[in-house]
Symmetry: D2
Subunit: 314 residues, 4 copies
């Protein structure tokens, strides 16, 4: 049974929620509550737990379960809860799926296991074995920078035939995203969700359905506004809001030299906003003080310039 | 305390042992016993559990623990037991290390966590946090095809300073392997272990210490003989044995189109030899019947030509 | 002196013109004439000679010169003529630039030399030496799949400071394209030209200036219409025309297995249309008969479905 | 007719000779004479003109021809002269081949054209067209870092069938080099030449034939001695000489941050030795003063430690 909240195709802004941690790397339950309320207030349509921004694979199972349990309880069906279940162990994947269902999550997100380099064919075989065990609707998740396999249009079609309700594409390859939108344009129930947040308006204008935007952890209303402006095809408003987004990318996301600096930056901004702390699970680490101050400066400038603007409240 | 068996530098042929599985993906305890005896009989100097060939990351924790426990018991200190502990979760890594110690393993093998792409610097920070928690001597493990980070000579030096007893390099990059041998040539306790089995004789001739050779699962004596021929600098014997090895690579390892076809082939050969079955943990799968028959043909030809030879018993 | 035709920023649809060849690999002067008239009739704003689609680097200097001379004469200042001058030899690059000026070309297109892998810094040093010798306005050309260096925003800024009038980005990386548009949004004379034709409407809607679209060799009016629909922000018309384009990509451009199959397909379509033949300079080759027939079928279907449509003439 | 000097298989140390240039980027004929005499005195078996170290693709045709002419005249058949003819233009390639023959060169070296990314199949088709036009024996040249295509064993076999007398493999991939040696072990006339100089002794010990070693421009006797020690299987001497080589790699070749820093270093060492100047053809540039001084220090230390040694004269 598809949970009541969920209508297909899945749509809108679904932040890949970061996981608030304490200094001892336990779950920061207070931060979690503040973060979820911040996101709901910002108007997001769902949250995606235990994805890449959520540092899912870095957390032990106990913590992953605690997060699912507490987040589902806090959300209490006000918005959708999607749970990333991928693990290199098949059994652990299935167990997490069942736990998510039990705790009241709405859908699952499935990427290929991420240790071995695999072919499209092996990915399809994996999905063939996994999908019949899943107790909830699920999205496919394409993130080749972490999984080493770039799902082809053909593989996604196979996934759709086996029951997937959509694909979140974080390849960063707009040609693939457009090919996916085109492929499924006559399949209105299948969602094409952009993982690269700068592609949000292009995705919506050209027939896609939403974005799993890391930055929506910090600036949920900005993304929701951009989503709505895209839906209503208000090109001036889109231009204005994209400009804000590009500014964030050029400044806040561009501090330090880690390949995961945008995740560091998002946690840093949330800690500067007093929502949660910026502790991270190894192998990732919080930004150092210099970088934190740099982001602080960018954030103040960004917030200040926002206040100067009229007509549009982000 | 370094266990009694272990003398530094670690040396010799240490197969990255495949994990025998039943059709239901549980541990094949009978196969495990046969495989370990086959390896000990072949003269190997140790076994490495839960590496890439061992499909470590694909197995759930219960099965990983069962394997460690049963393997340590079967080996009963006749040869070294090394255990791969790497996991994307830091806590799970530490727990597996402690369990390995408890079960009587001799050493650990540590690769960087394999979900996020990380820098050398982040890898060093990860090791700084992990190493003080490790209850046993440990080797570093470089396998960029799976972990996405290629450990630099500088990073390995840092790992050595923090306590590593050696490095297993499976980058396939002979220049890196030679640079490592050169870097540590005045550090006689630090082992340089080749992960690419074709580089075994070069490694030994030029000052390295051994090989973690996947093929030694099937042909332990061939590798032990090649190791010893290399130690005694018997170039004719080396040439003869390398020739056998090259033949295996060109035939048996070259069936099918998966990036992990050599692992499939190794399990297939072991099943053809009646040692264990060739079930694999997803996302890997056994070779299909056509490919299996192809390998059967290659194996028969290989064994037959071996019988024809005199003077050298493999 | 900037030639009369050229107003900055450079705008519109500028096909990277293929080079019509005879069976003996000499220039097909008759085909050249037909092709240029076909393009001008289609409404393009300029042509770009000797780019990647033009197989520039594969042609000997004599043929490159002949092409420049004949094309400039045929065009006779009706539209802009841009000439790709990049060569691995610095002197040859300068000589071709001078020849293009002499023959009446309007602008040059400059990519980094393509043999050695180079850094951003080396690319900048190269431009520092080259630019003072150039007798005509010039665009930078980013095509990392051929040159192995992906021009950074910073490098393009340096190029602008040294006199570039724009950048043609064929990286296929929409994030870079958007970063470039954003970087130069307050520099109205600097053109951002998309090299990936599927990004044409996004480029224009978000502030860029045009496209060097290979497909415009075959379907110039389709691209000009899409450009104009984008300028006038007619989202319905854009959607309709992009759909045509996506269809071409899924069918005509998708035949065979060469990395350059879209160039083969473009020459094939032009030969099917009777404009010129599809001989190619080695190392590229025409499509074989099977593939040619496949494209023929796609083309007929495409043209037929075009006729069925009303209201929009492509 | 194979020139008299040349016996198959081609063997030994064949430096990819750097091209001595004056400040105005014209050929430094005096430096060329000194360099060739330095190499012949060092005992090399041939020289390879216009390769990657020779900056071949960066030189204009006039200069390439001048170099071939003057080098052939200076060498005067005392050692072999091989000429790299590859160009992105097919006609230019054939013309350079004919010119090399006319000037008395002994053999040609052929890499795939380096602008377009091509498949193995396209490479074979290119060779099928080119080879019948070649007036001299020729080696294949595998250098994927510059040409973007990594010749497979299968492609090299096809090249052999079409007449190639050997392959110079500069892929840096020892597994490929060993696969090539193995493939052609029963084809005694076909040469396997290592392009990565650190693999020289391994190549010879395992059945290969020589090395095109950039460092032999500076230290020809070191390489010739290592080649001979490898031929005579003198493992102690090999170890000693490899050690010198590793030292050069760790110091002299490791200055600056260009992907082509070893070529810069080689020209720098030659200028420090007073043989020729270190001007380079764009896009490459000489090392700056700081880096030059760094190399000067390494070189002095290297020469000094050489003097301290007894028993072995390099």
């Amino acid at each position: 049974m598809t949970p009541k909240l969920m209508k297909l195709p899945l749509k809108g802004i679904i932040p890949p929620m970061i996981t608030p941690l304490l200094e001892n790397k336990e779950l920061d339950s207070k931060g979690l509550k503040l973060l979820i309320e911040h996101l709901i207030e910002g108007g997001v349509h769902g949250i995606f737990l235990l994805g890449t921004n959520g540092e899912g694979p870095s957390l032990d199972y106990r913590l992953r379960r605690q997060l699912i349990k507490e987040a589902c309880k806090i959300v209490n069906h006000r918005i959708l809860v999607l749970v990333g279940i991928t693990d290199t162990s098949f059994n652990a994947t299935v167990e997490m799926a069942n736990y998510a269902k039990e705790m009241g999550a709405d859908a699952l997100v499935v990427a290929p296991p991420y240790y071995f380099p695999v072919t499209q064919h092996e990915t399809i075989d994996y999905l063939k074995a996994l999908i019949p065990t899943l107790p909830l609707p699920f999205l496919l998740y394409n993130i080749p920078s972490c999984t080493k396999v770039n799902l082809s249009v053909e593989t996604v079609k196979k996934g759709k035939e086996m029951g997937a309700i959509g694909i979140k594409d974080s390849s960063g390859d707009m040609s693939l995203l457009y090919a996916l939108i085109d492929e499924f344009k006559d399949t209105p129930d299948f969602s094409i969700i952009a993982g690269a947040e700068l592609f949000l308006s292009d995705t919506i204008l050209n027939g896609g359905h939403g974005a799993v935007a890391g930055g929506a952890n910090c600036f949920p209303k900005l993304f929701v506004d951009l989503y709505e402006a895209s839906l209503s095809r208000d090109l001036n408003k889109i231009a204005f809001l994209r400009d804000q987004l590009l500014k964030i990318h050029k400044t806040i996301y561009n501090v330090g030299d880690s390949p995961t600096k945008s995740i560091q930056a998002i946690k840093c901004v949330l800690s500067l906003k007093g929502i949660c702390q910026d502790y991270m699970a190894l192998p990732l680490s919080p930004l150092n003080t210099t970088h934190r101050n740099e982001i602080k400066g960018y954030l103040e400038e960004f917030e200040y310039s926002k206040k100067q603007r009229t007509g549009l409240k982000l």
